[in-house]
Symmetry: C2
């Protein structure tokens, strides 16, 4: 069955966005980057996809200006969201909110709090305390009250503590 | 290369959402449903994907409570968003806004206006006239000032006129 792998026939911003971020697993790479994951090995351990697929996804995100490679320790590159990439936060948030509303009990949801005032971010991205719409770098993600899984990869373990979005996630290996 | 087709290992609302709407072309089916596309033949003409793929996507959306089939004229089903499906609007909107910001000049963008007050919806979904965040059913989509393509499928032609989102799109065949 021939199914085109791009949306060239669709002159539409939704289709154009999906050409960049619609590939399988790509949005989970972006999600992890908002969590502060930077090392290839951490993305790999957390996502559990083949290294070749992860590498291809990162390359495509870099080619489209969503992520960038920066020198890391030990001569290995790290990966960060660019300014363009950080503007994907409303997309990631919409998927978080829709997934939570439909599939997770409140006690199994991570909460996102406004670093400046401590308020909780509601489904519409508005802080319930100060009514601002904080940028992702002003948010602290808190683990759910009830742990959802027993994954013990370095990223899952690190995210059991509150963490400032976009700040590098310190993992132990 | 083995690449899992689900995200069962990812205990996360982003992954859970993508299990429902992350398949290739699925979000464009949802986008069209917001535009008021209801007939299988209209989805098919507008998306240009094989009928078997479209049928599989619609079935999966119905199975997950995002769309529903209703009796149409001539004994053929029509497809509509459910209440759950309509809550995907912030996701679709985030992709519209990101795609417009990055890939379309202002004159090539559709505009979305608040039916009640005539204000224009800004990137954060807030009406620039009354500051409300309108539901999609309160929005009227206007064609871009500069036409982006010469598609003459029935849906593209119908959307050259302003149209109330979610209201059935009347197409000529």
């Amino acid at each position: 069955m021939a199914l085109r792998r791009d949306y060239a026939s669709q002159s539409c911003p939704v289709a154009r966005s999906l050409e960049v971020i619609g590939e399988r697993w790509t949005l989970l790479v972006v999600r992890d980057a908002f969590y502060g994951v930077r090392r290839f090995s951490d993305f790999h351990a957390h996502l559990g996809i083949p290294k070749a697929v992860l590498s291809e996804r990162l390359t495509r995100l870099i080619d489209n200006g969503v992520m960038t490679a920066v020198p890391g320790t030990g001569g290995k590159d790290c990966y960060e969201l660019t300014a363009r990439g950080r503007t994907l936060w409303p997309t990631i948030w919409a998927l978080i909110a829709w997934g939570n509303d439909n599939f997770y009990e409140p006690e199994s949801r991570r909460s996102y709090r406004h670093a400046e005032c401590g308020g909780t971010i509601a489904a519409d991205r508005i802080c319930d305390a100060c009514q601002a719409i904080p940028e992702p770098g002003d948010l602290i993600v808190h683990p759910p009250r009830r742990r959802r899984n027993t994954h013990d990869d370095p990223v899952s373990v690190a995210l059991r503590q509150p963490h400032h979005l976009l700040e590098p996630l310190v993992t132990r290996r």
